[in-house]
Homo-oligomer: 249 residues x 2
DNA sequence: AACAAAATGGAACGATCGTATCAATCCGGA
DNA sequence: TCCGGATTGATACGATCGTTCCATTTTGTT
């Protein structure tokens, strides 16, 4: 069990003592188009894995560099601070997911007028889940780690309204707007609640927290998302429809 | 933004260097029945608040003692290690919640045979939520913090299968067994999935992560659980029924 | 081959970490 | 009033934290 942590005032004080950032040589994106982004991606992959397991504060930069067998200065060179590294870890995967989601939205738009309420709600669930689900089940462990980081962060105010807000917010509005097409008379409160409840249920499933394993004494696995998703889909579709159809909403 | 963290091998190494615990004078429970549990409860309250805000690794013992204006040694005296303090924080509230839930189960048992599927599923949602919901909405901030700690931990494998497992596990089985009374033909996989999906949705709402505030630009508040719960209840009841009624379950 | 830029290796800084020690103080029962 | 255990104050220790610096090596381009 790891133990240490950091005191908030400390970091602030240290930063205040040296306010002038010494214009360090730091790359934003690699100029070479293809072959050798070794260290940078290795840092991202390793950090992603460790952040997923123990959270931002549970991982030190030295944990990452030791695991990846690289030197401490490389992290500072490529990413600057630990915060910026975390942000880079999240944004790398998010870009890919977000692009696919936007394509799905665009493809859906012309068909929307002819879709039933249920079909629209099913589209909300699928557009949210399928892009990340297919990647998680594809086998690349990085996507599982990313899903866990999001599941983790979405349930902590500090992250959900902090670093992750820029990632979570725009999509949320898109989804709520889509829900509104099925339920134009539902209030914003109802739409946002329905969406957030879906997020909670889906994130809990995506997080692969191992509870299904212990509850079933090893008979089922929380990593078997292929078996879980059909049930999760039914759950959230029925849930969102029930929430949005309430008279008082 | 706080920064530091701890390296796992470090704590283990340190513990290994001094394996003999020097039988310290540490109380398990206060002998005095009433008036003066000042410091001990102050530590618990402060730790609870900070753990809820930044998580276990985001809070140092000195954060707690500084905030509470007490001395560092008192934490070690009353609780031993930081891990034991965290466990004590969780278990204090859990005992109260768990007792009430067991009463609810007992009170429900004689009526179960005459209840509809829907009524049983509604009972699952209510018995899970109402004990903690009434306390959170009662105004004591400690219960909000506790809810956030659980919401946080339930979505991280490390906690959900670690320290929190002893808290989450027995209740989960009770609830799954209750669900099985409504859906005797549903598989364990279906029942556990339905229950866990409810946990995910409810925990996300209980966590009061502030996303409802930002999404609605301040119009609604994620802390207004009285407005959210009716919708969450409809959501999870419909969701669990839909999940359990699937033919392939 | 030569050279500037990109990247790494190695070491260090000061701050903070969890935990422990121990004398001084508090406090209820005798 | 006194006394012994419960509790606190003050301080310390070694380890680890995030971050930085600079000399050295690698690398792409001329």
């Amino acid at each position: 069990m790891p133990t240490a942590a950091a005191r908030k005032p400390a970091a602030e004080k240290r930063r205040l003592q040296k306010p002038v950032r010494t214009a360090k040589p730091r790359r934003e994106a690699k100029p070479q188009g293809e072959a050798k982004p070794k260290t940078r991606d290795l840092i991202l992959d390793t950090a992603e894995q460790l952040f997923a397991e123990r959270g931002f504060f549970g991982v030190s930069v030295r944990d990452i560099t030791d695991t990846a067998a690289i030197r401490l200065a490389s992290v500072n060179y490529h990413f600057g601070t630990k915060d910026e590294l975390f942000r880079a870890v999240v944004e790398r995967r998010f870009r890919e997911i977000d692009a696919e989601r936007r394509q799905c939205f665009a493809a859906l738009e012309p068909r929307l007028a002819r879709m039933s309420k249920r079909e629209i709600v099913e589209a909300v669930a699928d557009i949210f889940m399928l892009p990340i689900l297919t990647r998680v089940t594809s086998g690349e462990p990085g996507w599982t780690a990313y899903a866990q980081i999001i599941a983790h962060g979405a349930n902590v105010k500090m992250w959900a309204t902090g670093i992750l807000a820029s990632v979570l917010d725009p999509v949320a509005r898109d989804f709520a707007a889509l829900l509104a097409r099925a339920y134009p008379k539902a209030s914003d409160h109802t739409l946002f609640c329905a969406y957030e409840l879906m997020i909670g249920a889906m994130a809990h499933a995506l997080g692969q927290n191992g509870r299904l394993d212990t509850l079933s004494k090893g008979k089922y696995r929380s990593t078997d998302l292929a078996a879980i998703y059909p049930k999760a889909r039914r759950f959230v579709v029925a849930g969102m429809m029930a929430a949005c159809e309430a008279k008082d909403g």
